[in-house]
Amino acid sequence: MHELSIAHNIVSIASAAAAEAGAEEISSVHVRIGALSGVVADALRFSFAIAAEGTPLANAELVIEETPVVVFCAQCNEEMMLPNPRLFRCPRCNQPCGQIVSGRELEIVALETP
């Protein structure tokens, strides 16, 4: 259950940002999770509701944008989005590509107030 500790981190970073911006209540929290972040969106939503209790985020919706894995294909000399995070092959030339450009991210993007 490491989604709960991730959720606590989100709440703590978001609460600090809300306080700094002088916002008393937050209606939504936008996060971005990569296909290789090891975080399950549903588990994170569930944990967020618990972690947000008693904070300015208590009624906030967690809006999750799931992002794909992007690798660099040396053959095509180009960054390629992987249609399947379990197959690290260039979708164009089918060469194995292990150079991960993105897909591990776990980021708070923004907050919205009501």
């Binding site: 995070p85 690290f88 194995p96 980021e107």
Partner: protein
């Protein structure tokens, strides 16, 4: 009440940015002290402790080895590892399913890093949670035992994709459990085309030779790197 007041507050910050900062700090300290740090990841029962005990015993003949051992509740692993003669410290993680950089830093405070050449961090047995937490290591090594399913790499791509090396452990049992090595390697390659795959046996004589050769090579490269940057 101003109904126009709906606002967007931009943050753009990594959820684990605090951990990443601490890990970067640790990496600088390890680098400055010339310690090569290996973060060992696997599912429970894949043989991390047996591999580590045998590796520490063998590597102690040529360098100064230490280990930090993450375990949920017991100190069994640390006691086993201490038999190797290396410097060992237990990290009791309680309910945590992974190690974080600040836990590692706390357990290192009274160690003289310059008296260590090779430091192993045995993570909590778990193929999901530890993947997202940088511990400042120079190499992340993931174990897959022959007694697990060959499809583990496909089930846990976030861990296997970020490995610097993958060890096939308990290779001495391969035949008995009908381990399909070619399939396992194909699955590892599917999610990680770059990491070397090294077969090991902590029981068989010579079963760690390839793994130790890999370690020595990494340590040499790391050493050269430290000398070049002059830290």
């Amino acid at each position: 009440m101003n109904y126009e007041a709906k606002r967007l507050i931009e943050i753009r910050q990594g959820v684990l940015s605090k951990n990443d900062q601490l890990a970067a700090e640790l990496r600088r300290r390890f680098h400055a002290a010339g310690v090569f740090v290996v973060n060992l990841l696997s599912s429970p029962g894949a043989g991390k402790t047996s591999l580590l005990e045998a590796t520490m015993r063998a590597m102690l003949a040529e360098c100064r080895v230490a280990a930090l051992v993450g375990d949920l509740a017991t100190d069994n692993d640390a006691r086993r590892l201490a038999r190797s003669g290396g410097l060992v410290r237990q990290i009791q993680t309680g309910d945590m399913c992974h190690l974080e950089a600040d836990i590692v830093a706390r357990h290192l405070v009274d160690w003289d890093l310059s008296a260590i050449d090779l430091l192993f961090i045995e993570n909590v047995g778990n193929l999901v949670c530890p993947a997202g937490y940088d511990l400042g290591e120079a190499a992340r090594v993931v174990l897959l035992s022959t007694t697990e399913g060959e499809d583990k790499p496909l089930k846990y791509p976030s861990t296997f994709a970020t490995a610097d090396a993958v060890l096939l452990t308990k290779i001495d049992l391969a035949e008995a459990v009908e381990f399909d090595r070619a399939l396992a390697e194909e699955n590892i390659r599917a999610v990680n085309p770059r990491a070397p795959i090294v077969a090991t046996s902590a029981r068989r004589a010579g079963g760690l030779d390839d793994w130790m050769a890999w370690l020595r090579k990494q340590m040499r490269n790391h050493r050269r790197d430290v000398d070049v940057t002059g830290s």
